[in-house]
C-alpha cells in the first residue's frame, strides 16, 4: 500500500482531512473529510426569540459575523413582512464593507500569499517582506475599525437587529476613519497591481459561477441568485435550484444544483458575474489589469479579492461621507407568524438563511446554508483535476499543492461544519 500522510492543513478555518484513493496508479476517489464537530446552530435557534437570531448566528464565524447578521435579518424581515429604510440599508452595506476589508486583507496577504511566494507562513513572509505584511495588517485593521465604529467592537460587532439598528452609530467616529480608508483605497489599488505579478499555478476549470446579482449595485445583499449558466433564481426560490445533501464522511453538508452539478460561490463568481456593477476605482483597477473575464483559475481568486478590496474601500468612503442618521434607527415590529428567507454574499460566497417564526416571535425552524458547504464538492472536483499531478509529486510538494488549492478557496470549515490531512492510499490493498 502506498500511503502518504501529511500534517494538518494550516491557514484554513476548522479541521478536516483529505483522502486521495489510487487504483493501479490512477486516482479513483477524493474525499474532503470534515471532522470538525457539528455545531448545531440551526437546532438551538429553535425556540429562541427572533430578535436573538442575528447575534447568535454571528457567533458562527469570527471572520464573517456581519454576513450571518445580514442574512438573518433579511430573512426575518421577510418573515415579518417589513422593509427597512434606505438609510438602514446603507449602514448595513457600510458594515459589510468593513467585513470584506478585514477578511480579504487577511486572506490575500496572510493566508494565500505565503503559498504563492514560497513561504511556509505569514510569519516567514513578515521576515522577508515586513513592509508587505505591515501594510496588510494596517489594511485589515481599518476594516475592523469600521466594524467597531458601527457595532461597538472589532470582532463580533453588535447593533444590527431585525428591523434596523439598535441605535445609530455616531457620525464622528466614522468620519475619523476617512483618512485611513483613503490610504486603504490606494493600498488596495496597489494590491491589485501586486496580485498580477504573483506566480499562479496553471489550472482552468469550467465552473458554474453563482452569486447574488443586482443591476444597480455590487450584489451583496439585494438581488437575485445569478448563475453563469444563464439561470436567474429569486431568493425565495433558492432551495428549488440549490440543494444540500448529507455525506457520511463529513460533518458539513455538500451543496449541488438541482441537476446534480457542482457550482462555485465566492469572489471569482462575484467578479465574473458582477464586474459591471463595481464602483469606478475598482472598474479602473480591473481595466488596468487587462484581465480576460471570466477568470477560471481558482488560485486567481486572490486577484478577485484584490479588486473587491478596491470596491469596498471606495464604497465605505462614499457611505461614510453621506451618512446622516435621521429618524428611528429601527422599525417598530409587530409580531406575526411567518416564514422568510434571505441571503447575502459573505466574503467567501453566498450565505442563505430561512426561518419560520410563530405569532409570539419564537423560531420554529431555521436553515442556514454557508458558502463553504456549497463549495466543498467543487473543491473536491478541483482536487480531482489536480490529482494526476499530485500523485507524481514528492509528498511535501503534493501536500503544499493540495493545501494551496484548498486555501485559495478561503474555506471556513468552522462555518460549514461542519480541515486538512492529506492521505493518499492504494484502494483495494492493505
Amino acid at each position: 500500500m502506498k500511503t502518504i500522510e501529511v500534517p494538518a492543513l494550516a491557514r484554513v478555518e476548522g479541521e478536516g482531512g483529505l483522502y486521495i484513493g489510487l487504483k493501479d496508479g490512477k486516482v479513483i476517489e477524493i474525499r474532503l473529510d470534515i471532522y470538525e464537530p457539528p455545531r448545531f446552530f440551526e437546532g438551538f435557534l429553535v425556540g429562541r426569540f427572533f430578535q436573538e437570531v442575528p447575534d447568535i448566528t454571528a457567533r458562527i464565524c469570527g471572520i464573517c459575523p456581519v454576513a450571518y447578521q445580514m442574512s438573518s435579518v433579511t430573512a426575518l424581515e421577510k418573515a415579518l413582512d417589513v422593509e427597512v429604510s434606505p438609510q438602514v440599508y446603507a449602514l448595513r452595506r457600510l458594515m459589510y464593507c468593513g467585513e470584506y476589508i478585514e477578511s480579504h486583507a487577511l486572506h490575500i496577504y496572510l493566508l494565500q500569499a505565503p503559498d504563492l511566494l514560497g513561504q511556509p507562513s505569514a510569519l516567514d513572509l513578515a521576515v522577508i517582506a515586513p513592509d508587505v505584511v505591515k501594510n496588510a495588517l494596517r489594511m485589515k485593521k481599518i476594516g475592523n475599525e469600521v466594524l467597531k465604529a458601527i457595532g461597538g467592537r472589532s470582532v463580533h460587532p453588535v447593533n444590527a437587529c431585525v428591523g434596523g439598528w439598535y441605535r445609530w452609530p455616531d457620525v464622528a467616529p466614522l468620519q475619523a476613519l476617512l483618512p485611513e480608508l483613503e490610504w486603504g483605497l490606494e493600498a488596495a489599488k496597489e494590491t491589485v497591481q501586486w496580485s498580477l505579478t504573483l506566480p499562479y499555478p496553471a489550472l482552468e476549470i469550467d465552473y458554474e459561477f453563482v452569486a447574488i446579482h443586482h443591476p444597480e449595485e455590487y450584489g451583496i445583499m439585494h438581488g437575485d441568485v445569478s448563475s453563469s449558466k444563464g439561470n436567474k433564481t429569486s431568493v425565495a426560490d433558492y432551495e428549488m435550484r440549490y440543494f444540500e445533501e448529507h455525506v457520511q464522511r463529513s460533518n458539513a453538508l455538500h451543496g449541488h444544483t438541482a441537476f446534480g452539478g457542482t457550482y462555485l460561490v465566492g469572489p471569482l463568481a462575484r467578479l465574473n458575474l458582477n464586474h459591471a456593477q463595481l464602483l469606478p476605482a475598482a472598474q479602473k483597477a480591473l481595466k488596468d489589469a487587462k484581465l480576460k473575464l471570466p477568470l477560471k483559475n481558482p488560485y486567481k481568486s486572490l486577484i478577485a479579492r484584490a479588486v473587491e478590496l478596491v470596491h469596498f474601500y471606495e464604497e465605505a468612503i462614499q457611505l461614510i461621507k453621506t451618512y446622516q442618521p435621521d429618524g428611528p434607527a429601527h422599525l417598530d415590529l409587530k409580531l406575526k407568524a411567518g416564514e422568510g428567507c434571505g441571503m447575502s454574499e459573505a466574503p467567501r460566497g453566498l450565505l442563505y438563511h430561512r426561518y419560520k417564526i410563530d405569532d409570539q416571535g419564537m423560531v420554529k425552524f431555521a436553515k442556514i446554508v454557508p458558502p463553504t458547504a456549497q463549495n466543498l464538492p467543487r473543491i473536491e472536483a478541483d482536487l480531482f483535476a489536480l490529482a494526476p499531478k499530485l500523485v507524481k509529486m514528492e509528498q511535501e510538494q503534493a501536500t503544499l499543492t493540495a493545501e494551496h488549492l484548498v486555501r485559495a478557496y478561503d474555506p471556513c470549515i468552522s462555518c460549514a461544519t461542519h480541515f486538512l490531512k492529506l492521505k493518499i492510499g492504494e484502494v483495494g490493498h492493505d
Binding site: 478555518e13 469570527g62 510569519l123 513578515a126 521576515v127 515586513p130 495588517l137
Partner: protein, 156 residues
Amino acid sequence: MNILVLGIGQSLRGDDAAGLEAVHLWQAKHPNTAARVQVGYSELPGLALLDLFVGMDAAILLDAVQSTKSAGSVIQLGPDDLASFTPEAGSAHGWGVAETLQLGLALNPALAQVRMTLIGIVGKDFSLGAGLSPQVRKAMGKAAAMVEREIQNNLK
C-alpha cells in the same frame, strides 16, 4: 514607566480564563499599584495584541498554558522563552500570543525594547463552560503575587 498588565483567555473555556481571573485578583489586592499601570483584559486578542504594546516600556501578560507540569503550576517566562515557542498558525482564528509576538518582532524590531513577561498558569480543563478547576483556582493567589512582584521590579 509605562507598564501593561494584560489578562488573556476565554472566560467560557474553563481554565482558559486563568489569566483573566489572576489579573482580577491582583487588581483587587493591589488597587494602588493597579492605578499606576495600564490594566487590560482580552478574551481573543489576535493580531490586535500588537497595538496594546504601543508606548509601553514593559508588559506582563497572564495566560493559561498547557504544559507537562501539573495543573495549577505557575510559570514565569521572559522574552527569550517566548521566542522559543513553536508557531502553530493552524487557523486564521488562532493566532496565539507567542506567534503574534513573533510576528510583531519581525515587523517592528522596536517591540524588542518592551520588557515582556508572560506568567503562564498551567490549566487542566479547557472544555466549554465557566469556572476554573480547583487546582487552577488555588494558583490564582500565587499568580497575582507574581504580577505585583514583577511590577515592583520594573518600577525600581
